[in-house]
Assembly symmetry: C2
Homo-oligomer: 914 residues x 2
């Protein structure tokens, strides 16, 4: 999006500064997340130190023009004056100075990405006033010293090392062991040194005017929006760069002024399990930064109740009010300053997947939200996490190390350190974990062979992470505490523990943890609920698990009751079909018939392909007929009464033949040895004849059906006879015949003409009524663009979004995921692989066009999707939005699609959970 | 299109029958071509036997419903009555019967595809009347005999063999040698036999009621619209099936009633050379069918002048009037019946390419049409034909055989009978003609190696024809008089002449002729005109050639003066660029830089690809820089002052490396022999690493530029330095940088960011001003769909219609043209390969979308096309219509594009020539 879409350059009528008592959480776009919630708490009458927020508009103006709006200086002066009045203190006052913090606060949280400056307002004069008010000179001078250091580094861009060196020298000169031991005089001297550094580095003295300090700090926060790390973070998180950040200026309160003071963070419920009751950490005599930094060990929140019952009671009351007000789990930061409670931040708290489901239902039962809202509060991604098996967390295993959760799941296997070893060990029947510093396309074969992948470098968009997610393979990435030595074939932990090739390790792709040895895997109780039903799943479960299962059950039931979009499964066997039904599938959206040409039937298929005479081909087809018929009977039985969309054979024929290069090498070796290679040679000739430069774009799908006589007719006959058989058995077979890779109505008409003849013949021969809809995949851009014509012949459309993504982008998944997707994600070309989540602007546009044109021709045209995107949460919302009738996905993802279809019907955004 | 779009089922207010004096040529949609022109001649007062036309609407009604409109019978009765009155004869009259012909006549000519019945109105009574009027009983009974035979076969669907056998028996019984020798009594007996056959085969006697004969004949013409051969013909010629045919009922006149009678066909000018003056054939004492059947040798038209000066003078006057009336070359059929001239048909005549140009300018000079119209009258296809070299037609070589002109050009070479022999002989430096019964994908390598292809089976849509046209290779197909024996490696003509492998033959892809030996090839004078200019081309040419060259010059000049669309050339070398300028190119639309990585530079490119360390890659790039710079300097010099669009490197890297299978076989063989294969092995590993399942859809274009550091920067630097050099030399270099295979604006922005830095650096270093537009290919559906975004970064668009066709249809040209395009054309999926002429509905829709969205963002966005479609006549009209700024094509096709751009500006249809 272009920069000027939201900029308001030259627009002077807009306000740039809002006092906390003037804002609200509705103004989050203007005030950012932190500012909006501080304003909300202020409006609620909660104890919030006074302050004001400078708007995101101001930031955009600043970034566009390099300056500030004409009215801004006045507005800020008035806001500071109002703040001084409310705090009853003055900036720079010699006796009781007002100190303020300056913090960034964007629309979307970008933790640690931007600047904060504390203790603004201290100078050579006010530091003495602070000493008097706090009754603690050392505290005052240490604060002043910290201000110059923080301000010097972040606002004045002085190398932080200069200050660190100075403080180390002061400590050594004082014979102390840490800066906490420096006394007031030593700190005064350090302040002088720091001021000298500032003068030397910037050519100007440290600004004594508090208002100047404040203005410089605000500009520096604005600037920090566009640091390289912030830009990279936004690119990866798909946060638009034009948003800009707000700045919050707030009166300082101190949790570190001796007894009766302290600071803490808390949640209104346990965010990791969802158990009811407040949960948090408290640190007496400390500032908020100390809790976050984790320098000292925190105490459980209840300790505050023992030491300061009044503040604790007030905090509990505040938290209860917040939860009712926000109608959700809240996450807060607070400070107690000499017995007075101050709220410094709140927001709706992040939580684990299990907690999300439990809390949603708790809030329903407490009358705080309704079931609609509860369904909006959970997500398909969370449900997917709950359905993966997990390591047995009751075991006492300490992780060896922890990295990024790059691709979920739990994997156990022998450590191997390169791709060939992985392939060899897997071929010997071992489960292996491939360990690399980082992976590249050369490691692909090893990744395919391994049960899981572990890397010491790279994050969630690294090659290993992207490729593993694409494969559905467990991966932990960026475990930088591990030293991987692929030459010596071992890895070493920070404390010297060594894992050699062949040692068994376990990796948890959901938590990012790595364990030595084989950790027990516990099946998911939620998966058991879907597989076996509520009663079975509840039996023998503990209380928390039972609450979780019931929550899932109630939320799924409600999602099903409100959703418009139907959910089918992709299934090729009787077993898959049965499983899909248990998962709630309402039919099969994609039955791939090519799987029926594999296994022991491959010999027949080879005969078919190699046939030189008509009668040979006919014999091969005739031999395949009863086998196919049996397959269809079984699946139609398992899905009785529900639609079963059967796709005629799609892949190119050479996929059923041996690899060309391997075969050529075998023939060459045999020739060199003078051995007989007649059969291989004949096969090689056939493979050469059929080989294609780009098989994805070759003789497959409907093209194959039109060029190879009898192939589609065989399949239609097998389907028809299977349906007749099921009818005679009293069943309700509902086959739908789907033609793959259609690009023009003429192709489809030719297939339909042939199919109609076959159906009529079978119908006559068996005396049954066959009224199958015949439709087409829409998986080529041309099919989407000419959908208005194609709908004249097609009775339904099914979007094959895998192929449609490949042709729309012009890249084949096989080739590009490994070759350049990680680079593309790093560079921000994609936020997520278009094979994982539908590319709304490109592929989505074709889907919109096809649905609109198709339904113009045939208003009741049934439209579905059978690509892998059918089970992707974000994509489900898109498909619902464009009016598809159903999505079809793998059986395991059917519950996820059901939930997201419900959320979409309830108006939840694509990823609108916290 | 659906059948009911134009049908008027149940619409009784529409007229179904038009007397010739009620119609006109404007009513061609309703009356068909023949009917409209008969009406036109009648309106002009020319001597046309009276008659009426039954409309195409009636045919559509009949084909939709199987019956005729309620009012039809009345209308036809009235029309017959009017016809009887005008002819002053009655159908079935015993003394002077009216006889009529019943002929089809569709909107577009479908020669020989549908039925004709003559002599309707004869029965047992009227035959005697005809005998009296004609004064020739034998003629009358022979006519009656012919009616029953023709009617029996075409209307009553009786096997024609039954009548043939009967006539042979009668001839034998009479002791005669041919049916022309049968006397009246023998013919009477034969009529009896025929009537018996009709009764036996249909269960009813031959209809004696002339009105019934007429009605049945009309229905049978309607039915013949949907015979398989008619459907196939329409499919191949892209004639819509819903059009239907009109039927013309016309009083018979006889050119075979003795002296003073005859029949002929004539053109108002010579249609093969364009020379002024009438031209035609005359056959005394004959019917029109005899001329067409070619049974007897015709006389030159002038002989009529000798035998019947009055009729001849009248004919000349009629032809002159027709040419002035139709303002074009006319083609007529006429009959003289006992000294009276009758016009039976006229239409605008077909002509050769050379005649088209000469006649268009003649008509201008005669004041009949203006130059605008003259340009509309010629076509790019005709111009292309004139630019091919041709065999020396002044030589006396008789063709050995003649087949279909499948792919134009002239080729001379040794006969070879299979693909491996073709490859081997070509490798030895021989020019070869590949001869096959028909080709299939196995013959591809041989077709590539051969100078021309000759097949004995298959037509213009056969595999050989489609593939040869795709390659631009000369081909003659379907020479069914040749017996091809690939085992004995020879072919034999109908009269026993044998051509053995190695014998030299010559094939003419424009005429379809095959010659023994090497026929001299004459260069095209029109090509010489474009290459060397008017004066050079005229020098030493004969009169006809001079007239042709001047005509081409005048028409090209006019086309250039009226066209809006600019024409550039695709050129990669200085020589191509210079040639393109001579052909009239206004710049280079596509300079492919990958060609600069071939030849002696391949070693450097291998180094670049195989580089493992950064510095190795940088060294390889640095070594390539001066070479690329030199290339660019030369081309910018040749195209000085005109835009040169330079595409950054596009193909995948492994295209520069050896073939994977060949290399693997070489390594295996070396290993088996214990030979050293270290270098090959290392190369094989690299090839394996880079090999892709679908190279078309892999790491190429912008993807390669983003993944391989320094590659695009090298190219941009070379371009920038070349431009600086040319500026210093006083030149006017106008480079445009084009990024290939862009799918999203993010990709383009990343490349532009890098390029802008490089341009600035070169600009600073050399003190020159570089203001290159940077734009993108639009060759992926996603680029077209998101063109509104992409235009924010791109300063121009160039449609790469080759790749866009591949991705839109999801097929790769390499794989599919040979594998199934001929089958697709036979089945009517395509009329023409979408790689030859733009697929307006699919690919064209994306172009429309992209132009609209791109110009919405950037109203002055320059849009061009650089795929091969840029030189295709039909496609040029489409590109002009959607508002592109230019097309770019191979230098040879630049004149064709210029002409078609002019025709498009003048409102000519895509293929609106005769």
């Amino acid at each position: 999006m272009s920069d000027d879409k939201l900029s308001i350059t030259g627009e002077d009528s807009i306000r740039h500064v809002f006092s906390f008592d003037e804002g609200s959480r509705e103004l989050i776009d203007t005030l950012g997340g932190k500012g909006a919630n501080l304003a909300e708490m202020t409006r609620m009458g909660l104890p919030v130190p006074p302050g004001f927020t400078i708007t995101t508009d101001t930031c955009r103006y600043f970034l566009d023009t390099g300056g500030l709006p004409a009215t801004f200086a006045d507005e800020m002066s008035r806001a500071v004056a109002a703040l001084e009045q409310r705090a009853d203190k003055r900036l720079g006052d010699a006796t009781d100075p007002l100190l303020v913090s300056v913090r960034s606060g964007a629309r979307f949280s970008m933790p640690g990405m931007m600047e904060t400056v504390l203790d603004i307002g201290l100078n050579d004069v006010s530091v003495e006033g602070l000493a008097v008010v706090a009754g603690d000179s050392r505290f005052a001078w240490d604060s002043y010293r910290r201000l110059i250091q923080m301000f010097g580094k972040t606002v004045l861009q002085i190398d932080g090392e200069r200050f660190e060196v100075a403080v180390q020298r002061a400590v050594r000169a004082a014979g102390a062991s840490a800066d906490t031991e420096l006394n007031v005089d030593q700190l005064r001297a350090l302040v002088d040194t720091y001021k000298g550094t500032v003068l030397e580095c910037t050519g100007a003295p440290f600004p004594q005017d508090p208002f100047e300090q404040l203005q410089l700090a605000v500009r520096s926060v604005f600037h920090s929006w566009n640091t390289p790390r912030a830009i990279l973070y936004r690119r990866q998180e798909r946060i638009p760069g034009w948003l800009g950040t707000a700045v919050n200026v707030q009166a300082m309160v101190f949790g570190n002024i001796g007894g009766g003071s302290g600071t803490g963070v808390a949640f209104t419920r346990d965010p990791s399990t969802g158990t009811r009751g407040v949960y948090g950490d408290y640190l007496p005599d400390a500032q908020g930064e100390d809790v976050v930094a984790g320098i000292r060990n925190t105490l459980p929140l209840a300790e505050l109740g023992a030491s300061d019952p009044a503040s604790y009671a007030q905090l509990l009351e505040v938290m209860d009010r917040l939860e009712h007000h926000y109608r959700d789990l809240c996450d807060i930061e607070f400070t107690v300053e000499q017995g007075t409670l101050w709220m410094l931040q709140t927001r709706v708290g992040k939580r684990t997947a299990g907690a999300a489901f439990r809390i949603a239902i708790q809030l329903v039962d407490e009358g705080i939200i309704d079931l609609d809202e509860a369904v909006r509060r959970v997500s398909g991604d969370q449900l997917a996490h709950l359905m993966f098996p997990a390591f047995d967390t009751t075991s006492d295993d300490e992780p060896l190390a922890t990295g990024m959760s790059a691709s979920p799941g739990a994997a156990v296997g022998q450590a191997v350190f390169d791709s060939p070893s992985a392939v060899a060990a897997a071929a010997d029947g071992h489960s292996v974990i491939l360990i690399r510093r980082e992976t590249n396309p050369d490691d692909l074969a090893g990744m395919v062979a391994a049960a899981g992948v572990l890397t010491s470098r790279g994050g969630k968009t690294s090659h290993a992470a992207v490729v593993a997610r694409g494969m559905g393979k467990t991966a932990v990435c960026g475990v930088d505490s591990l030293l991987v030595d692929t030459v010596a074939r071992r890895m070493t932990t920070a404390d010297g523990q060594v894992i050699n090739e062949g040692d068994v390790i376990s990796i948890d792709g959901t938590s990012g943890e790595v364990f030595v040895g084989s950790v027990g895997v516990v099946p998911s109780p939620v998966a058991r609920y879907f597989e076996a039903g509520l009663a079975d799943a509840l039996e023998g479960s503990d209380e928390a698990t039972r609450e979780l299962i019931v929550a899932v059950d109630r939320l799924m039931t409600h999602a099903d009751s409100v959703r418009r979009l139907r959910v089918r499964a992709n299934a090729d066997t009787r077993e898959d079909a049965a499983r899909a039904r248990r998962m709630g599938a309402e039919g099969i959206g994609l039955l791939r018939t090519e799987h029926m040409f594999l296994g022991e039937r491959k010999a027949l298929v080879e005969r078919l392909i190699l046939a030189e005479e008509d009668h040979e081909r006919k014999e091969a087809l005739a031999a395949l007929l009863p086998l196919q018929r049996k397959d269809f009977i079984r699946i139609l039985e398992a899905m009785d009464g529900q639609p079963v969309t059967i796709r005629l054979i799609d892949p190119p024929l050479h996929e059923f033949l041996p690899d060309r290069t391997e075969l050529a090498v075998r023939v060459a070796r045999a020739e060199e040895r003078g051995a007989d290679s007649e059969a291989d040679l004949r096969m090689l000739q056939a493979v050469n004849r059929l080989s294609e430069a780009n098989p994805m774009l070759g003789l497959r799908g409907v093209r194959l059906g039109l060029v190879l006589p009898g192939l589609f007719a065989l399949q239609v006959q097998a389907i028809a006879e299977a349906a007749c058989f099921r009818q005679r058995m009293g069943g309700d077979p509902r086959a739908e015949i789907m033609v793959p890779l259609v690009g023009s109505i003429q192709e489809l008409e030719l297939v339909i003409d042939e199919a109609v003849d076959v159906l009529a013949a079978v119908s006559d021969a068996h005396g049954c009524t066959l009224e199958f809809p015949i439709g087409t995949m829409i998986e080529l851009p041309r099919a989407a663009l000419t959908a208005g014509q194609i709908a004249e012949a097609a009775q339904f459309f099914s979007f094959g979004t895998n192929d449609l993504t490949q042709t729309t982008w012009g890249f084949s998944r096989d080739d590009v995921e490994a070759a350049f997707f990680s680079a593309y994600m790093d560079k921000g070309v994609f936020g997520v692989s278009p094979f994982e989540s539908i590319d709304v602007e490109g592929v989505g546009e074709l889907i919109r066009i096809a649905v609109a044109k198709g339904r113009q021709t045939r208003p009741d045209l049934q439209c579905g999707v059978c690509g892998e995107h059918g089970g992707d949460p974000g994509s489900v919302h898109f498909f619902d939005g464009v009016g598809l009738d159903y999505v079809s996905c793998s059986p395991f993802r059917v519950p996820i699609a059901r939930l997201e279809a419900g959320r979409s019907a309830l108006g939840a955004g694509r990823s609108d959970t916290r």
